[in-house]
């Protein structure tokens, strides 16, 4: 039941000989042969080794009491060389994935009746286009942000400085292990490693109780997800007998499952195989802060801003997207996994966008926006476009890192001030030009202004939602959320950067009089990083037009990279929609994983290809959002358009509207009380149970033991009178004993026992 359209989108790895021989001719023009996995050069290990080395060096600096910026330069150099090595790896990549072996890690050999089996998880690295794609922006951004942090963290040179960069280096190392590992246990190692670094860096200001609580919350909430991932990994091994990508994704069993899944026939796939992606998904929700496990990420903003930018916006939180993209073949085999991913992503996107609209802390707004954008990526993966999700990761990494670093510069310059009601007109303050520019570029990307990178990547996702059966609701919600995103993004920009100049020092200002406060403009390191990221954010939109590959029918860079990796999947519905736009008859009707390909479903909006129509629709939503922000939050007489706008930092035209809405803005500001609800339905009951267990242990379990311990004493107390010292008493008991003994012997003899 597989038609030819379908076959062009067949996973390239199906070329593996024993998969589906009969279909082999149809897939020969797929880009690469995943099945052939060679071994790569050892210098690739520099990408892993250098960040680890820098981390150790920072530890040594701390021990010898270094008080200079040496740790920062070490990490910048380490990450920089790692980035260059990644570039070299990219340049020398010839399309064949390969592995690089560092050393053996866990190998267990089972000799059982069913033959000898091994669990092999080595410190080895799997290099394909997806790995390269991810590592390029991870190491690149790490270098830039380390440079930024060298200035940003300079107020506590010394042990803390070493501690910060030590954890930073360790993070880059762990992230590299996560992305490059050639088996699921290595991925898990990196997964936990980045969690640890996140914990250490969120809790960097460890004297602040909020920071400590946030760090703890991040690790524990993540651990819930990790449990899912871990169980998924174990189940993968138990079910497929391998953890190594090179073997796992060529496993004939898995390929058979995928084949049935692609026709929507899920009944042929065993239930336990379908559980694996569901478990992975839980892990991804934890790490990538998706509903219901997103609550840790906004709190994580207690960490220093470079950390928020690198770990909690650009790289670590995309690990969930990476996981799903990497194991996309397995996700295809589950009937429910991808629809759940899509819906969870959508709900998260909407929910956190509404929260972001009501926050006043600009860093928190960015945090919720990160959660929301991650939701888009998940929705993209869920509506059968790994390309869309993965492309959005890249564009988002650049513009969100940029936005965070701009917020960080503001926070740094205004003594910790982050309240948008206390900052206004920064673009007119001397020395803040580059920050304003960076912020503006970041905002137009996030808001999805046409021709920005954020616009293209978000569009890909929304368009796919409209062509996938049963997902058009997702498309509408994502469109609406795009409007909200544009609004809250430009709310920040208009409030903080435009209008009359007004600023109040934050809580870190220790002057005697608030009026003497002078903000200090960012220095060269911060400015150069901001400028570089601004250029990158703009350039990222160019990636939508270059890097296509005629041979594999890929249209742009991200798609080329994704299609040559294990995430190689193209939605049959998408293909169909493109075809159907050209000739209105229905040449390739058939089945897909989400049901029959339906001509009507592919044209939900206007009678054209949704991929094209969506450009205009989403542009409208974005622009309307920005205009609303300008109208409600913009300054008075801005560009002569809006009369009677904001005249000071604290008040705007939104305020009376918000008052009219009753308690809703307040509820949104309080994050819809999700934290409180969790506390009420999860934490508190569990804590009560723990207390109950504690008392049970003390009274019941131990009590029983004590009663048993008391029994001999009780017996002794009963028998004490017999130890009277009276001879007759002893004689009587002796006689009694002998009698009983004799009786026992008698009984035994009677039964013919002792010969």
């Amino acid at each position: 039941m597989i038609n030819t359209t379908f076959l062009t989108s067949t996973l390239a790895m199906l070329q593996d000989g024993h998969a589906v021989d009969t279909h082999a001719p149809a897939v020969t023009h797929a880009a690469t042969q995943i099945a052939e996995v060679g071994t790569g050069p050892k210098w690739i290990l520099l990408i892993i080794g250098l960040p680890f080395l820098t981390s150790i060096l920072c530890g040594i600096y701390a021990m010898i009491g270094n008080k200079t910026k040496l740790p920062a330069w070490t990490v910048v150099a380490g990450s920089g060389i790692a980035f260059l090595t990644t570039l070299a790896m990219y340049m020398s990549f010839d399309g064949t994935p390969y592995t690089v072996h560092a050393f053996d890690w866990i190998q267990v050999h089972f000799s059982s009746e069913g033959g000898d089996k091994s669990m092999i998880a080595n410190f080895s690295f799997y290099i394909d286009t997806l790995t390269i794609y991810w590592m390029l922006f991870v190491t690149g951004l790490a270098t830039l942000i380390a440079l930024y942090a060298s200035e940003y963290m300079s107020h506590d040179l010394g042990t803390s400085y070493c501690r910060f960069f030590g954890a930073f280096g360790l993070f880059v190392f762990s992230m590299a292990c996560l992305v490059m590992g050639d088996n699921l246990l290595m991925l898990y190692l990196g997964w936990e490693g980045v969690g640890l670094c996140s914990y250490l860096l969120i809790g960097y200001f460890y004297k602040k109780p909020e920071a400590v609580a946030a760090a703890k919350k991040a690790f524990i909430v993540n651990r819930i997800g990790d449990l899912g991932l871990a169980l998924g990994v174990y189940l993968t091994f138990v079910h497929f007998g391998s953890l190594e990508y090179a073997v796992l994704f060529n496993d004939p069993t898995l390929l058979g499952y995928i084949e049935s899944a692609k026709t929507g026939d899920f009944s042929a796939i065993p239930r336990m195989a379908q559980w694996i992606p569901l478990l992975f998904m839980v892990g991804a929700f934890g790490k990538s802060a998706q509903f219901p496990l997103y609550v840790w990420l906004p709190d994580a903003m207690e960490g220093p801003t470079p950390v928020s930018a690198l770990i909690h916006a650009a790289t670590m939180v995309t690990a969930g997207v990476y996981l799903i993209a990497r194991t996309y073949p397995m996700f295809l085999t589950s009937e429910y996994a991808l629809p759940i991913v899509a819906w969870v992503g959508t709900i998260t996107a909407l929910l956190s966008a509404t929260i972001a609209m009501a926050q006043f802390d600009i860093k928190r707004i960015m945090a919720y926006s990160t959660v929301s954008q991650l939701g888009y990526m998940f929705a993209g993966l869920g509506v059968l476009t790994p390309t869309g999700g993965v492309y959005h990761v890249l564009t988002h990494a650049f513009f969100k890192a940029l936005l965070f670093l701009c917020c960080g510069a503001v926070m740094h310059g205004f003594a910790g001030q982050l309240d948008l009601r206390k900052l206004s007109g920064l673009r007119s303050v001397k020395g803040w030009g580059i920050v304003t520019l960076g912020m503006f570029i970041g905002c137009i990307n996030l808001a999805g202004v046409p021709f920005t990178a954020g616009f293209f990547s978000k569009d890909t996702i929304i368009a796919e939602a409209f062509v996938t059966p049963g997902a058009s609701m997702i498309g509408w919600i994502l469109l609406f959320t795009a409007g909200l995103t544009a609004y809250y993004t430009f709310r920040v920009f208009f409030r903080v950067f435009t209008g009359p100049v007004e600023y109040h020092a934050g809580e870190e200002h220790h002057g005697d009089d608030g009026h003497d406060f002078h903000p200090h403009a960012p220095g060269w390191a911060v400015n150069s990083v901001l400028l570089t990221l601004t250029v990158c954010s703009i350039a990222a939109s160019g990636l939508y037009f270059v890097g296509g590959n005629k041979d594999t029918h890929t249209k742009h860079y991200a798609q080329t990279m994704v299609m040559a990796s294990t995430a190689n999947y193209e939605s049959p519905y998408s293909k169909h929609a493109i075809h159907a736009a050209h000739d209105s008859h229905d040449p390739n009707a058939g089945a897909g994983p989400r049901g029959t390909i339906d001509h009507e479903l592919s044209m939900p909006i206007i009678g054209g290809d949704p991929h094209k129509v969506m450009y205009y629709v989403s542009a409208v939503f974005g622009v309307v959002g920005i205009l609303l922000a300008a109208l409600l939050q913009g300054p008075k007489g801005w560009q002569g358009l809006f009369i009677g706008g904001r005249t000071n930092a604290a008040e705007c035209r939104m305020d009376p509207i918000a008052r009219m809405c009753g308690p809703i803005p307040k509820m949104a500001e309080n994050k819809w009380y999700v934290d409180e609800i969790y506390h009420m339905i999860l934490v508190t009951p569990l804590r009560i149970i723990s207390h109950i267990f504690h008392w049970i242990d003390k009274l019941l379990v131990d009590g029983l033991v004590n009663i048993f311990g008391f029994l001999p004493r009780l017996l002794a107390w009963i028998l004490k009178p017999s130890q009277s010292g009276v001879l007759q008493g002893y004689a009587v008991s002796m006689a009694g004993g002998v009698t009983i003994l004799l009786l026992v012997v008698f009984v035994i003899i009677l039964q013919g026992g002792v010969a």
Binding site: F103, D104, W105, I106, Q107, V108, H109, F110, S111, S112, E113, G114, K117, M119, F123, T159, L185, L189, E192, G193, L196, L200, G203, Y206, K207, P209, A215, K216, F219, I220, R223, I224, D226, L227, A230, L231, Y234, L235, F237, V238, H239, F240, G241, P270, M272, A273, L686, R687, I689, S690, H691, F693, H694, D697, V701, D702, V705, G709, V754, A755
Partner: protein
């Protein structure tokens, strides 16, 4: 491998104990330390000369007749598993001595002498190849530990030591009863009295399943208390809390492992059929223990009690692996025995160092130490992470294997493998529920670190600087931690150093346990066995009891 090295490992600490006991009070520490360091040499030699390609063979075997009438010998020998446990024991020796230097100020001779005796007894347990020697050493570990807690513990030490002694002793008596029955049964079967463990484990599985069940129950009575398995764990938090640091480290590092070692060496090989039958129950108890003890940890304010309960929770994984009765489970379990000793031992050392400075274990009274003791905090976080099971550190591989084993042991979940090849004692639900222990462990351990290391500095009101110790860790204290930390890291990155070593004996144990020695018609066989027992052997056995009575 020459048996002399094993003998030296037992003899040297005993000689050292005599020297300490009859030496000068102020030289007790030095003498004990030197003895412990010297015992490292025979351990190193054993490691060097041990042939790991024959890991299942008991090497360096030696045997001396002791009570020939009863077939009791003094025989020793080590296979890979016991060798590694011995090395762990010997490694912890100098560490606990060093950790006691400033903590123990009075009656040092008695303290160090008993520590050395304890060391000899523990090595004896692992090296014994004769049931009598095993049991004697097994019981003899109680006495030194009892004295250490009784005389050197903190406020509630009398109650703690009494409970520790009586509870474990009562349990071991039942184990003894079970083992005596096994000896009796084997004697009936072979016609000669023997207490040789190899012979016992070879013959005993022929026992009818109903008898096996009773024997298993009797053995578990002792071993489960020792592990300790829920609900027999209540002595442990008390003993741990009251024991001096060295006592806690040894208790967590080695003594608890005697229980799991006993299950591995005796319960599984001697009563395999009953064990398979009762493994699900054992699995349920361990899973309950993992969750129950983990949740109790969460509400502890006493940091030492918290770590003690965490031991109960962690050892649940260890027993779960054993109950799965497959290669990954047993490997994971043995790995867990070794790695738990390192990481939890490390945590107890950390707490001990803190206690010496602040004289409180209450996390409400002391906390936020990161600003005052950064080095201490570093190691605290390190060992916490090892305990949480962070990949790359030692706890992780063992946890993975224990959980995988639970999955594997339900054959219906593995499509790629033939049914029956894995044993069928547990199933995925055991792994799922045990897995929540991962989350709970992260919860209580990180909350502990959050309270004790981070936040604003809290110190007890009457706190004043220790006269001998610096604010942060001293050089000696750091050097006691470094071997443990290095071992955690090395075995986290190269678990195969251990896994390869133990794979032979594990494979053999699993193979022996999963091939039933029960004859095809069990009912018939029981009759036969009884006849056999009633008539035949009485002629052939030289039964010293009957000879002695007239």
């Amino acid at each position: 491998m020459n048996p002399i090295w094993t003998l030296l490992l037992i003899a040297l600490p005993l000689i050292g104990a005599l020297m300490v006991a009859f030496g000068r009070e102020d030289r007790a520490y030095g003498a004990a330390m030197r003895t412990m360091l010297v015992t490292l040499i025979p351990a190193a030699v054993m490691l060097w000369y041990f042939d790991f390609t024959l890991g299942a063979v008991h090497q360096g075997a030696a045997s001396v007749k002791w009570i020939p009438d009863l077939g009791i010998k003094l025989s020793i020998g080590t296979d890979a598993i016991s060798l590694l446990l011995i090395v762990l024991t010997v490694l912890l020796g100098p560490i606990v001595i060093a950790a006691s230097k400033t903590a123990i100020k009075e009656d040092r001779r008695k303290y160090y002498a008993w520590l050395l005796v304890l060391q000899a007894a523990m090595v004896g347990v692992f090296a014994a190849r004769d049931l009598m020697l095993f049991y004697i050493c097994f019981e003899f570990t109680l006495l030194p530990m009892f004295i250490l807690i009784r005389c050197y513990g903190s406020t509630n030490r009398v109650a703690a030591s009494t409970k520790f002694f009586l509870y474990t002793f009562t349990g071991s008596m039942m184990t003894l009863a079970g083992l005596i029955y096994v000896v009796y049964f084997v004697a009936q079967q072979t016609g000669t009295w023997t207490l040789d463990i190899a012979t016992l484990t070879a013959i005993a599985p022929r026992m009818p399943v109903e008898h096996q069940a009773w024997v298993l129950l009797a053995m578990l009575a002792g071993f489960a208390v020792k592990v300790p398995l829920f609900p027999f764990h209540t002595w442990l938090p008390l003993a741990h809390t009251e024991a001096p640091t060295a006592g806690s480290v040894i208790l967590a590092g080695v003594l608890l492992k005697l229980g799991t070692y006993g299950i591995l060496r005796f319960a599984i090989p001697i009563t395999p059929d009953a064990f398979i039958q009762y493994a699900p129950a054992l699995g349920v108890l361990s899973v309950i223990g993992i969750i129950y003890a983990g949740l109790i940890c969460w509400v502890q304010e006493d940091i030492k009690k918290l770590v003690a309960y965490s031991s109960v929770s962690h050892l649940g994984f260890c027993v779960l692996g054993l109950a799965a009765l497959n290669v990954s489970g047993l490997s994971g379990s043995v790995l867990y025995m070794l790695s738990h000793g390192l990481s939890t031992g490390g945590l107890f050392l950390m707490i001990g160092f803190m206690y010496e400075r602040y004289h409180t274990r209450d996390m409400r009274a002391v906390g936020g130490l990161a600003s005052k003791m950064p080095v201490w905090t570093f190691f605290m976080i390190f060992f916490t992470m090892a305990s949480v099971g962070l990949p790359g550190l030692n706890g992780f591989p063992s946890e993975v294997l224990c959980l995988i084993s639970a999955f594997q042991s339900d054959a219906s979940w593995s499509a790629a493998h033939e049914a029956g090849a894995w044993g069928t004692t547990l199933g995925p639900w055991f792994a799922v529920f045990a897995g929540t222990g991962m989350v709970i462990a992260a919860m209580y351990l990180l909350i502990m670190v959050g309270k004790i290391c981070f936040g604003p500095l809290r110190e007890p009101d009457d706190h004043h600087a220790h006269e001998e110790l610096p604010t942060d860790l001293s050089r000696r204290e750091i050097w006691t931690l470094i071997p443990l930390a290095v071992a955690c890291l090395v075995f986290g990155l190269k678990p195969n150093l251990l896994l390869d070593a133990i794979s032979d004996p594990i494979n053999q144990t699993v193979a022996a346990a999963t091939t039933s020695q029960q004859p095809p018609q069990p009912e018939h066989h029981i009759d036969q066995a009884e006849d056999h027992a009633m008539i035949e052997p009485t002629d052939t056995i030289s039964n010293p009891m009957t000879e002695a009575t007239p």
